[in-house]
């Protein structure tokens, strides 16, 4: 039997993203050279939401011009231990990433291996001036020396639990979900699933 517990609802996610957006602007002392790169699948919609919030806070920013998607599939270290993963598109903002302040965005930070892969993928695409990391959930259990600069919520978990982030962009019935078939479960919330 699977026990699920909602840890962030829609309003919580929204507040966390608003705070992270302002933290990013504060840490960068403005919107100068900012590029937000979301990691598929759920990091990308979060990056789009963050870009919109940054644009709302700083009217000189064009949200669509600073957001992109960075696929890390080919750089993973577990390719040969997992079922074959089809790659997702990598789309960089037109300005590129050279000499930019790149903020990587993902939904859940766990072992840190995805971020390691993302750093490798990034280096092959250019040379950012600074790379930062923003995540919605930090659930601990790091296996690499990686930490997030901006965290929506620190969530102490057991490694037997699963943290699921459901976003309307990726997990609603019309959202084209390919993994975890759309089952009509509520979206825009973060749940912990524990097997009892």
């Amino acid at each position: 039997m699977v026990l699920t517990r909602v840890v962030l609802n829609q309003a919580d996610i929204d507040r966390a993203l608003t705070r992270i957006a302002h933290e990013i602007l504060e840490a960068n002392k403005g919107s100068q050279d900012l590029v937000l790169l979301g990691i598929p699948r759920r990091g990308y919609p979060l990056a789009v939401r963050l870009a919109a919030k940054i644009a709302a806070a700083d009217p000189t920013v064009d949200a669509a011009a600073i957001v992109g998607q960075l696929d890390v599939t080919m750089f993973r270290d577990d390719l040969s231990h997992q079922p074959t993963r089809p790659p997702y598109p990598t789309q960089l903002p037109r300005t590129g990433i050279d000499n930019k302040v790149v903020v990587l965005i993902d939904d859940v930070l766990y072992s840190g291996r995805t971020i390691r892969a993302a750093l490798d993928a990034l280096i092959d695409l250019g040379r950012p001036r600074i790379v930062r990391l923003a995540v919605l959930i930090d659930r601990g259990h790091r296996e690499l020396p990686i930490r997030a600069d901006h965290v929506g919520k620190n969530l102490p978990t057991s490694s037997s639990e699963k943290v699921r982030v459901r976003l309307e962009e990726t997990d609603s019935a019309g959202g084209g979900a390919t993994d975890g078939a759309p089952d009509g479960a509520p979206v825009n919330e973060v749940v912990i699933e524990a097997t009892a």
Binding site: R85, P86, T114, D124, L125, D179
Partner: protein, 356 residues
């Protein structure tokens, strides 16, 4: 998928998956660092029993862009010319630790044989066998067509098929593995295929293929064609007289300057002209047609690398590499070997696992 042997038994799901993955691989070719670490430490052997330049180079470039190690093996100048059998060659490569074998062979069915036996536990990719199949060529043709077709429709090509596209394939169908692979794949993708050839260059049983057959190129063009694929007249396989003279062939079945002009007068402004190469300029395709803006010959070569990267990636990454096929103790008959190969191919389901 464990092997890529033919397009006849390639499901729509897997075909689209290869094409979609190739779409992402194509983006790598436009980057500054044209390399991915996905297949680091894997060994790909190019096993070529027949002459080939572009297919071998294309596979080599694809494997190298994925960081795999590449060993090129040409039958000329190797122990094969001293009489070594396919089995011994395969076992030698297995002992060297090959993870994938890209094989081109003059005998139809050689890749199936390699895949169905326990000679070598590696992914087998058919790079052309006899007059049977050449699946990666068909996939790169379909990729080229899909990009064109999606561009016309103004939709993204990822996930799309070729429903409604009218494709004519003209020339030496009898000897062409490219034509065979294309007929099966294009049928799977939903395109309407017409083969155009002199009756002497059509195989027996072509009426059972899932395509239309025409003997008149002009008539086919007049009915409307979205992609015109010319096949190479295979001089090296022309050991009987299939047509009286090359001049007559060129006039009746070649894509010459008159037919190029006819495309404009027929209002077919978006028709592309394809050729798998190498071209016999002036025979099956005129220089003007080959160099016209309609020609996709070079795009096909470029797309070939992307499609082969996709095939190598999908076959070689992932844990779903089942253990070797159960040892075949007695020499299996050809049909048993073939059915074993079919059983080994589809591993269609994959799950995208959650990981953070």
């Amino acid at each position: 998928m464990r092997h890529l042997l033919s397009t006849e038994d390639l499901s729509l799901h897997n075909a689209i998956r290869i094409l979609d993955t190739a779409e992402e691989m194509a983006a790598v070719g436009e980057r500054e660092v044209k390399k991915l670490p996905a297949l680091r430490g894997r060994t790909v052997v190019n096993l070529f029993f027949e002459d080939s330049t572009r297919t071998r180079i294309s596979f080599e470039a694809a494997a190298k862009r994925l960081s795999a190690d590449v060993i090129n093996f040409a039958a000329k100048g190797s122990s094969v010319s001293k009489g070594e059998s396919l089995k011994d060659t395969a076992q030698t490569l297995a002992a060297m630790g090959a993870d994938a074998v890209v094989i081109r062979h003059w005998a139809s069915g050689a890749p199936h044989r390699l895949a169905a036996t326990d000679w070598i536990d590696a992914a087998v990719i058919n790079a052309g066998d006899g007059t049977h199949e050449h699946p990666t060529q068909a996939l790169l043709d379909a990729f080229t067509m899909r990009r064109h077709w999606s561009k016309l429709a103004g939709t993204p090509s990822a996930g799309a098929d070729l429903k409604g596209m009218r494709v004519a394939i003209a020339g030496d169908v009898l000897h062409s593995r490219v034509a065979r692979s294309n007929v099966w794949l294009l049928r799977t993708l939903g395109a309407e295929v017409t083969l155009v050839a002199p009756p002497t260059l059509l195989p027996i049983g072509v009426e059972k293929w899932p395509c239309a057959v025409s003997f008149d190129l002009d008539e086919t063009l007049a009915q409307g064609v979205d992609a015109m694929m010319m096949l190479r007249v295979q001089g090296e396989r022309m050991n009987a007289s299939f047509f009286p003279t090359t001049r007559e062939y060129s006039r009746r079945w070649g894509f010459d300057d008159n037919r190029l002009r006819a495309l404009d007068s027929l209002g077919l402004k978006d028709t592309i002209i394809m050729h798998p190469g190498p071209m016999n300029r002036g025979l099956e395709i005129s220089a003007a047609a080959a160099d016209s803006p309609r020609s996709t010959v070079l795009a096909q070569v470029r797309n070939g690398v992307s499609v082969r990267m996709a095939a190598l990636y999908l076959l070689l990454s992932g844990e779903n590499r089942e253990p070797a096929v159960a040892p075949v103790s007695a020499p299996a008959s050809a049909s048993a070997a073939a059915s074993a190969a079919h059983a080994a191919i589809p591993n269609l389901t994959y799950s995208h696992q959650e990981s953070h």
